[in-house]
Symmetry: C2
Subunit: 341 residues, 2 copies
């Protein structure tokens, strides 16, 4: 007799900061496979800030989660049983099946990954959407030139840490903004950022960024929004570019996020600010993934993962994102591989 499938569903739409009551655990039978279908067991699930947005019932670039339905998101699994000619027991697959322990997928819902290239978890991180987000946001919107100054906020996070490293590869001077001394050390010592600013301890953040960027800011990769971004915008150079990737400071606000309006700054500096999501670049994913894999194999890209253990700990891992507790990509490991090939 098969195990039951355990799911984490959205219990209600949170107002402000989500908590454990935002989620319910449910169990259900695993359905019988039909022709062309594949049963896999989840090994890792991805836990990302953008998921907070999907908990709202608001128009956005991606459909909101449904109350009572499983939380969707990037996951990696191992094929347990297959009625598809394309997948075999033991294959490692990636898809958007989310926070559940088993999933019966149609062929087109999953994609095989090669576990010999890099640890499989990297396909949810530096070789996956996270890495591609950094790659396209920085290179297609930020367009850093050699010798320019690139500032990245949320710099020790999953996307930010890749942004800074790609900017270094492109010959830019890189300044990271993060919220703990551990993260500052990680950025400077492990990732070789040129400077790093602790936004929590800086007496005057605008001035601290100015000091870390004596030639001004040419590219600002914005992961956080809010007061951190206000302070960076006060240090822009003429013709600065600002890829706007995330605004984690605003995701749990219950009121309108208010701050200095940007129009006058944008005019004075002839600066560009462009919001994006990785899906905007989907027809270039292959190019990006190949380049990221190459840099990783050459040792030019480092990554850090924070891996929590156990399916039941997914909600607390997600809530950690908003406490600034994680460095690098945040994942939850749900099971070990069973059919090591």
């Amino acid at each position: 007799m098969k195990e039951k499938n355990r799911q984490i569903v959205l219990a209600n739409r949170p107002k402000g900061m989500p908590d454990k009551e935002t989620f319910h655990f449910v169990e259900q039978d695993i359905k019988e496979l039909e022709e062309g279908e594949v049963l896999h067991r989840t090994l890792y699930v991805s836990v990302d800030p953008y998921m907070r947005g999907r908990m709202q019932d608001a128009e956005s670039y991606i459909e909101p989660f449904q109350v009572g339905k499983v939380i969707e998101g990037g996951s990696i699994g191992e094929v347990i049983e297959s009625k598809s000619e394309k997948f075999q027991q033991g294959d490692i697959v990636i898809g958007m099946f989310g926070w559940q322990t088993y999933y019966v997928a149609k062929e087109k819902e999953i994609r095989k990954i090669d576990p010999s290239l890099a640890p499989i978890s990297t396909h949810l991180g530096i070789l996956g959407m996270t890495g591609l987000t950094a790659y396209f946001g920085l290179l297609d919107i930020g367009k850093p030139k050699e010798g320019e100054t690139v500032v990245v906020s949320g710099a020790a996070g999953a996307v930010g840490s890749v942004v800074g490293q790609i900017a270094k590869i492109k010959g830019a001077r890189v300044v990271g903004i993060a919220g703990s001394e551990d993260k500052i050390s990680f950025l400077k010592d492990q990732l070789q950022f040129d400077e790093a600013v602790n936004y929590k301890t800086a007496a005057d953040l605008k001035e601290a960024i100015g000091q870390a960027c004596p030639n001004g800011v040419d590219v600002y990769f914005d992961n956080v929004g809010g007061k951190v971004s206000d302070a960076v915008l006060a240090n822009l150079n003429r013709y600065a570019r600002i890829p706007v990737c995330g605004a984690i400071s605003a995701y749990n606000l219950e009121s309108v996020d208010v701050g200095p309006r940007v129009q006058t700054t944008l005019i004075k500096k002839s600066a560009l600010m462009q919001g994006f999501t990785v899906g905007d670049f989907s027809n270039q994913f292959q190019e990006g993934a190949m380049q990221l894999g190459k840099w990783l194999q050459e040792g030019n890209l480092k990554y850090r993962e924070t891996i929590h253990d156990g399916f039941e700990n997914i909600p607390s891992a997600f809530l950690d994102l908003f406490k600034g507790n994680n460095t690098g990509k945040l994942l939850v490991k749900v099971a070990d591989r069973q059919y090591e090939k």
Copy 2:
């Protein structure tokens, strides 16, 4: 004996709204011409919102005015006396010699214009920096496609009225925002805008713009900033483009201009916001001026000028800009031509 040159100089840097005390009138002798120099009498001076920015001692794309020095700006003059082979008495010239009745220019400071093509005042407006600002901001940043919806604020102003007409030429649906029923009629009846919204009388501006744009907003040409822009941003379509040309609502604020932060909107809509000044496109001016001249001659572009009369009325004309009293380009006529050719 020659007349004296009268100048309007910056008396002090205004805090908040400038007033008549911001300006002083002074007189000085007109210097003798040296070889290669040209004396001209001012016929028209241009009065523009961006000049408010130059009254501050703040870093910007253009140098601040100096206290005690003449207010610089676009002007048109008639050559009275010439020691240059390139200019003759009676030539009509354009330059940045500003608010004074006479000016001794070096050859490279002025450019001859052809008074047979169009009224000479249009070279300060639709055929000059004003028209070029509209042209490049809309086409190079806004990139409107046929059938898309283009919204322009400050729509009855010098730049806005050209933006909307170019957008119509490009096949877009055009919605203007302005602040009086006279201006609304001008936009709809004279310029054939598809819709126009009076921001002063709309009960709920966000909703009024939503109703005027049933298919959402693809391009927003922003001349004003502030609450009007907040309301337009709430109606953006995915992949919207926002050329940020002016923020007249903020120019006379004494405190920081505060409003809803834009980051979350930009991300949700993958939208682009780009500040610019016409100088960013200086290497394309010739192309732009030719196209504007062609449209004007074909009758595809209409323009309206508000022309005040008399040198002594320049300050009050300038102050009118911030009261929303003018439609189209605001000019002051300082003298009549003397040497009609």
